[in-house]
Symmetry: C2
Subunit: 324 residues, 2 copies
Amino acid sequence: MKLLDLYSKMKSDLNVIERELEQSITSDHALLSEASLHLLKAGGKRIRPVFVLLAGKFGDYRLDVLQRVAVTLELIHMASLVHDDVIDDADTRRGQLTVKSKWDNRIAMYTGDYIYAKALTIVTELNNPSIHQILSKAIVEMCIGEMEQIRDFFNTEQTVRNYLLRIRRKTALLIAISCQLGAIAADSDRKHALSLYRFGYNVGMAFQIRDDLLDICGTEKQIGKPPGSDIRQGNITLPVLLALRDPVIHQELKQEINRIRESDGQADASRALHLIRGSHGIDEAEQMAARYIDKAIKALEELPGLPAKKNLMDIAHFVAKRNY
Amino acid sequence: MKLLDLYSKMKSDLNVIERELEQSITSDHALLSEASLHLLKAGGKRIRPVFVLLAGKFGDYRLDVLQRVAVTLELIHMASLVHDDVIDDADTRRGQLTVKSKWDNRIAMYTGDYIYAKALTIVTELNNPSIHQILSKAIVEMCIGEMEQIRDFFNTEQTVRNYLLRIRRKTALLIAISCQLGAIAADSDRKHALSLYRFGYNVGMAFQIRDDLLDICGTEKQIGKPPGSDIRQGNITLPVLLALRDPVIHQELKQEINRIRESDGQADASRALHLIRGSHGIDEAEQMAARYIDKAIKALEELPGLPAKKNLMDIAHFVAKRNY
């Protein structure tokens, strides 16, 4: 099944979630609602809600319960984006002005805080402390990941392992618990919830590697922002680290990155992008993403043969190849 | 009983909380731990933990349960301070460099996020969803309060009611739920938990009004930062609003505030402070604080005559008069 077909099959449930998302951030404070809605309307793939719903199929699928988990996870993702944009000094996200650029950093910080808190009020309505625990621990890890990203800005000496640990915290964990919490909220088998966690974790790792590849190889039209944004803000990603291993370009690429750092991200990144694109870094990063996808699909093996299992596989294959 | 005697009587339990606070923010990320500990070591009155413990006396006082609530509330308070300092562009707090000034705004934002999240992991270990609910709703309100403060910066036309609603969200609510959650965690009578909530709410209102008065009438030594900080950053507080009602100084005070606004808070605030100090605004604000204290003490009436009741009264009286 193509991804579009899957979304259309899930449309009525996803519509419910979309409505709940909108309602959840309509507060009695005009500016907060406006800033939050601006972000919501900018869209997104809603991949976390999709995972929650599909994971819920492996248990007692109740939309009224699952929607709370789905809305919470999407809100947490949104809140982290708002705070990211402050840090990254990003002016556009998904082709739209960011909150920090449309308003200012202060508004963006409190909008993020507000969306985080709102997410928690929704999930705490489910009287399931173990869901609350898993979620709050994941947010802690996400924050640590964000701090690691700042620490590692422009650090060309960092290891690949370092990068992998960082994206684990920054991205993979939230996708992993989207799958896990969907299963838990549906009272599915404990073993299934763990398999789904592993699936989500590996898809999440591949998803982020693919995202980092797109920032180097994609066009502005594909990715909704100018390519090379990562490198300009100092975020040294997998393809860059792998490209730096090539002795022929190592010195020049390092110099280019230093030049960008010294210009506070204002310098042109096209030479650096050219060097990375021409290196083995692209292929090798793609291979690593593919290996994570293999592991994700393997994690599904022990799950019962429901249609949702096939859907999850389709998404994994899509993530491996996506170019937007 | 003097406040110092009360602290010394509670010393062993407060020490446990201090240790837990420290442990809770010692993460595997050096910079996060350092920034969080910096804030923790700067001290503070730990008034929220004190309220949690005293409220717990009206039920089944179990330190292992109450300490989680106390640590969570103090961490949430700390997290909000870190984010406040970003917004306020504050360089010192309690006479110490702020996180945003010692490191930078990005570090401060994620340190705040991290401390918030850490707080939630601690409280979710208590398998009591109603505590999680009350807490997450209070954080939402706090965020709205912070946004209102930004919206109202330098607005000399705002009403006193506006100010009161804002400090309710920004300060009083968290103190109110400190009392309420202490009682709930100790399985105390539902009616007692509500009385304690009302007590905390009214003390919290008085506490903030007193804080705002100190920023105008206190010395740098008393308050750990230069007086007039509020006005320089645009935070128009109760004494200012009341002073603006005086037709004799209205025009000049408004002009002074506008001058400070136009200078981006760089202009000298001493003339504005002088005008406010000489107005009826000080007395009237003090009277309002005193009325909240009266209401707080009245809220205690229906509670059983335990020593903790007397302690709460003593704290309320102290808040009414504190000058640090």
